[in-house]
Subunit: 147 residues, 4 copies
């Protein structure tokens, strides 16, 4: 797969809301997992896609199979996190999103979400399926070259 | 409607989890709305019902039409809230749940959730419907007499 | 108190994030309470204030004493809520924020948060205190005239 | 370090609450991170400890430095997750908690939280510090032998 270099990076921000903080006075660690998913969905919207979408008469969705985050400094109420999103792996049926959180020059956290492409069956169950070409074309520019 | 006196009160507890707290060091006010709904669902389970349920071949659910809570003292991390649940109004198509939160002798909060009985249509939309007799029979004992 | 007519309305938006939705496919009712608080804090920032702030050498904060919300229609994943914020009551020691949620022409919800002005004591406890003139001056334009 | 074999496993449960679900009808992936932390805190309480605690005149707390979770099947509203907690690594200054989620015979998810032992300085900042003997003694029985 020929990947453009450097890859495209999607950038967004999230303010630490009061409801995201905990009694230690900082954004609770679970908030970063919400921020990651929100940034993923925002990237999808930015290229005309959605995490729930009809593709060729088929409802496609992306259940998460794993997620992780490393925390290097703390984020306080009303601070604004800058979030950089790339794709570290684009497999036949799955995608691994990478997220890097900073506040100005400060490194805050980095994490990943791996999601598998599924079609929704008529009975509501899910079956993994190759990523449709529409998604591949629009996601590939975000793939990091060493992937 | 003949209501037994005194009404039955459903009692449960919720510990304030760390993820429920905020930077002020107390349970965030939105946590109480989650606790209320959880207590409502727990009451329903205790009498063999569920907030999503097939009744006479019809899927019944209870969207919320209003909710409120008054806060009188603060709840800290790891404190255990005792929650008393009654019903303050049982209409033809709606129910108003009442919740009272205490920690030992301390009055913490009280609130309400009003939910309307709906059937789920084949297309997923909802239509309000009279509360099925099965629900009325099981909920009436919790109705406060001055309702 | 002479209140300008019409009052100033603070407007912001919130997209319904996937983590805000529930198994009924809509924004969970507790999400609206988070949105209300976030809009309140955003209004405060827009006039140079914060919900946690040093005023005349005194830390000032605003614990919630009550909140309520009425729900009139449902908000789905990725819909954008427009939120209009005014103040319906500005007392000596408390403020009642009013919020109206719409999606385009559709009326979605309206709610209130009442917060009491407190100073933070050296031991971390709170004592209610008259709203500082700095806050009164900056909040008064948002007061609705029939308050 | 001599570790008892087999290690002690702490077991607890969490019901999937409606507010934990998302529009896909299952527990949102971020809920598992909350469940993990709640189980960690419950284990600590079960041996007389707390995640915020005075030890030898020093406030000790445990900020998270990383967390991850792998998801293998879905958990629906009102299902009860059984959670098994052990410790996979007990370092000089950090602990890695391991969590395994099942619903009856079904494997649902497994994850980890790594937290570093810190003392709270008078100015509120944190400094990493060796795990106090009180904690080591009470945590060691949960350490898996191949750690």
């Amino acid at each position: 797969m020929t990947v453009p270099y450097p890859p495209q990076t999607f950038r967004t921000t999230r303010r630490v809301e009061f409801s995201d903080t905990d009694a230690a006075g900082i954004a609770h660690f679970t908030a970063f997992f919400r921020y990651m998913e929100q940034a993923e969905h925002e990237l999808l919207r930015s290229v005309g896609l959605s995490v729930f979408m009809q593709v060729e008469g088929q409802e496609i969705t992306w259940p998460r199979v794993s997620s992780k985050c490393d925390f290097r400094s703390m984020a306080k109420f009303e601070e604004t996190l800058e979030i950089a999103v790339t794709i570290s792996r684009l497999g036949e049926k799955s995608v691994t999103w990478s997220f890097h959180f900073t506040i100005g020059p400060r490194d805050v956290a980095s994490g990943e979400i791996t999601a598998v492409c599924c079609r929704v069956n008529p009975d509501g169950t899910l079956t993994s399926t190759p990523i449709p070409p529409l998604f591949l074309t629009k996601l590939r520019p975000f793939l990091t070259p060493d992937s």
